[in-house]
């Protein structure tokens, strides 16, 4: 899909992966997340928070229940020395603007609200590397600027992020890699 790709992502930086449909943006992120073992070369990546094209939010559960599961399972999974999640579930929901619908099953929420719930997971995760696949999909203008701010805050706090996106991500656009043509 792609070859000769060298990427060094230090703490505090955000890199945006660009390229036409089918150029392997999502595959690159899945590779880095460890969800796709079929590659040649080497990857040395920390355990990463991954937001895929699917939001990773169960439609049967409310945002609160989804996030509680994520927080509890993530906390018991967090390896030794990893900083504990900084925020509570309520704070994360408030940050993405979901307080009003925190008890409604996600299947009844809009696409954008489901993406917001998926984003709230990032705020709960103690992991320093964020891998965001099209984080702006289905979000309104306020949501898009929210994503930009989350990434900025995360990088300012010593984290790193790699995003695949067609749309500009605000101030974090400084570093970008272009993947070549389709398959």
């Amino acid at each position: 899909m792609f070859r000769n790709l060298n990427l060094d992502l230090p703490a505090g930086r955000c890199v945006v992966v660009r390229g036409p449909n089918g150029s392997g943006k999502s595959t690159l992120l899945r590779l880095a997340a460890g969800l796709y073992p079929d590659y040649e070369g080497g990857i040395e990546a920390a355990d990463a928070f991954y937001l895929g094209q699917k939001p990773g939010i169960s439609g049967l559960l409310s945002p609160r229940e989804n996030l509680q599961w994520y927080r509890r399972a993530g906390l018991s999974a967090g390896g030794a020395g990893s900083p504990r999640a900084k925020r509570s579930v309520d704070e994360a929901m408030a940050a993405v603007g979901l307080e009003a619908c925190s008890e409604i099953p996600c299947a009844r929420l809009s696409q954008g609200q489901q993406r917001r719930a998926g984003l709230a997971r990032a705020l709960l995760s103690p992991l320093r590397l964020w891998l965001l696949d099209e984080p702006l999909t289905a979000l309104d203008a306020q949501g898009r600027s929210l994503v930009g701010r989350f990434i900025e805050d995360h990088c300012a706090g010593g984290g790193a992020a790699m995003c695949a996106s067609h749309q500009p991500l605000g101030a974090m656009d400084s570093a970008a890699i272009e993947l070549g043509g389709g398959r």
Binding site: A33, G34, L35, Y36, P37, D38, D47, A48, Y50, G52, Q53, K54, P55, G56, I57, S58, G59, L60, L61, E65, W69, Y70, R72, A73, G74, S76, A77, G79, P105, G118, R121
Partner: protein
């Protein structure tokens, strides 16, 4: 990890109640149909009853397996499950435990009713329940491997049945022979030990297989 996952699965099952009711309704209707088909011939019916019960239990379990991972696969929670679950087999066990509670355990609780409808001797009912209690965890655990492997396949239901039903054979064989022996008045413990053995084997091996199979399924998408 176990508690968090168990709680989540339990909430999901409680929200989608048809998933609990479908296999049980299937079992009940199946038993009813067999009872009707044999007409008034109670002797023939009770002779075949152990086999009927176990085959229906196998199929009812199979029915509920298809959705075990599918919903999570479709909304992307399965990816998060793989990334979060440390150790993976504990989270898998929690998932299968909930599935067993709403199939195997519920079926065991309903077994006296099925036995009555199939005119099994009442003395055999406790042993039928014991056999189901020991055998059905193996069904859920082995089935979960198949469910995890076929979750990425569109319309994987038939493939799932082809994969899983042969694995169910030992449980079927020993389950039926134990139940039939006790229904016939013979106190046979050997088959029951075998059932317990299969369940222990499935309990130790299949969570690892399920965790690996989920990973394989996720590579495809």
């Amino acid at each position: 990890m176990f508690a968090a996952q168990f709680r989540r699965e339990w909430l999901c099952v409680a929200r989608a109640r048809d998933e609990i009711l479908n296999p049980l309704a299937f079992l009940f209707l199946g038993v009813l149909l067999f009872a009707m088909a044999f007409g008034g011939d109670d002797e023939a019916l009770s002779a075949y009853a152990p086999g009927i019960v176990w085959v229906l239990v196998l199929l009812a379990n199979l029915m509920s397996l298809e959705i075990l991972f599918r919903r999570d696969f479709e909304d992307g929670t399965l990816e998060q499950f793989v990334l979060l679950a440390r150790p993976p087999f504990v989270a898998v066990l929690a998932k299968v435990a909930v599935q067993w509670c709403v199939t195997g355990f519920a079926i065991t609780a309903l077994a006296p009713l099925a036995a009555l409808m199939l005119s099994m001797p009442p003395e055999a009912v406790p042993m039928l329940m014991l056999c189901l209690l020991l055998g059905t965890p193996a069904l859920s655990l082995l089935g979960a491997v198949g469910a995890a492997l076929t979750v990425g396949v569109r319309k994987g239901g038939v493939l799932l049945a082809l994969l899983v039903l042969p694995l169910y054979l030992p449980v079927l064989i020993f389950g039926v022979s134990a139940t039939a022996a006790w229904a016939g008045g013979a106190a046979e413990w050997a088959q029951i030990y075998w059932l317990a053995g299969f369940t222990m084997l499935a309990l130790t091996l299949s969570p690892f297989a399920v965790a690996a199979a989920v990973k394989i399924s996720l590579e495809e998408c």
